[in-house]
């Protein structure tokens, strides 16, 4: 007897996420690449901008934060689906009695965790290097909310496109080309909210609320489109199939097709 869909989804998502994390813990490939990249970027930012006065670094810090997230996210998403592509394991999961949404949840979840590990280095790094980033220490809860919401929005849409390319045998180069434009709205929103945080804008809760709403929309979109992106959209094809079948039947009985 099959369990109810929400139960299946929850259990299978957790199992797949555990499998992803075990795989990552075994070779630490994504975490090491991403954290090393983050540290290098932090060092370069420091050498380039540390001599500037606070008023000049203030507008730069949000850009530095989300630029790094965008690059780390691309590296992580590309590699996460490369693993599936190399062994064609994504197709094995798609053919198995697994909720396809669980695959999306697990991939997005593991990518989010890697991004958050990098942000755990990046945000304190920026706060220590630039006086403008001191606000991150002063308002830790708001900072955590900002980082989590920004990264969540990024992986919600990024995972969808990365999966589409992995399933379709697309090239990694295409992922970068597609990923930056589609994640730009999320990154812009996160950038504006970070600026509001650094300015201690009284409307910050409203900005965070809007980010959360955007995340809900993007997650909904990802959940809705994940399966059609991977195996093709059934409903439109069904209508087409039905029309084709009707035509075939008419042809075999020697009657003309109605117009």
């Amino acid at each position: 007897m099959l369990h109810l869909a929400p139960v299946r989804l929850l259990r299978q998502s957790l199992l797949l996420l555990r499998s992803e994390l075990r795989q990552e813990l075994r070779d630490l490939e994504l975490v090491l690449t991403s954290t090393f990249f983050t540290l290098v970027v932090l060092g370069m930012f420091y050498l380039s901008f540390a001599a500037l006065e606070k008023k000049h670094t203030m507008p730069a810090v949000p850009g530095l934060l989300w630029l790094t997230v965008a690059f780390v996210g691309t590296i992580t998403l590309t590699r996460a689906f490369d693993r599936e592509r190399e062994a064609d394991t994504l197709r094995a999961l798609l053919a198995a009695p697994v909720e396809r949404l669980a695959i999306y949840v697990a991939k997005a979840g593991s990518t989010l965790l890697v991004l958050l590990v990098c942000c755990a280095l990046l945000v304190p790094g920026l706060a220590s290097m630039f006086p403008a980033g001191q606000v991150f220490w002063d308002m830790p809860l708001e900072t955590v909310a900002l980082v989590v919401l920004g990264c969540l929005g990024y992986v919600a849409i990024g995972t969808l496109f990365a999966a589409g390319l992995a399933g379709g045998g697309g090239k990694n180069m295409l992922l970068a080309v597609i990923l930056y434009p589609v994640t730009t709205p999320v990154l812009m929103f996160a950038l504006v909210t970070t600026r509001a945080l650094l300015d201690k804008n009284p409307n910050l809760p409203s900005y965070l609320g809007q980010m959360a709403a955007l995340d809900v929309i993007l997650l909904g979109l990802g959940a809705l489109l994940f399966e059609p992106v991977l195996v093709g959209a059934a409903p439109a094809r069904t209508a087409q199939a039905a029309r084709q079948h009707a035509r075939d039947r008419l042809r075999t009985t020697g009657r003309e097709e109605p117009r």
Binding site: L2, Q23, A87, L94, A95, P97, G232
Partner: protein
Amino acid sequence: MSGAQQPITPIVLRSISQRFGRKVVLRGVDLELRARSITGLVGANGAGKTTLFLILAGLLQPDGGERRYGERVVADIDLELRARLAYVAHAPQLYPGLGARANLELFAELRHAAGLSSRPADDVLRGLGLPAEALDRPVSTFSRGMAQRVALARAVAGDPELLLLDEPFTALDARGRAQLAGALLAERDRGAAILLSSHDQGTLLRVCDRLVLLEAGAIVREVERGDDDPAGFAARASEVLGAVGPDDHAAA
């Protein structure tokens, strides 16, 4: 099998068509797969065999035609159907860092999470001739033949009603092919409908109840093993196989 549920066999494809861009890959394929029967799908490379497998497994939506699984005409191979079929591609599709046992256990856990049963991994793997010392070795260290056995073990562990095998004999030695053929006959006797594609003509002749020739995306010939005339089947099947080309394992 699934107790009180309606069987998903026979599986009937009607007028299935598929194109990729301008290339027409399948042209109005009609095919029936029955329970307790092994159907051999033969055809040259590029004839459309793998596309047909993907459509049957729900990994590709056909452009046209109808798929019927038992009493149900389906537009989308949903989880309930996927629970009752298994697909083995010509790549083993295993997690290379995991052992054979861990690969099977992951999929068994996913089945259990959905409320489905699965045979114990060790039993199935040993049944397919995987040595005990190889059970926990990463499959990245396996030969292609061993990996193929693990892939088949994963497929049969859930006792599927429909077993789709796209060139499962690739890279297997003579002993491996004989073991796999034995396993397929056991699955058929259990009640499964099996669609098997292979270039190993000897094994096809030995195990198949029916041979279907796919040419340029269309089924052009079918021969069936009758109860009364085994020699006649062998002769007619040889004609079909001859149309495909030389046997991959003729020298083996």
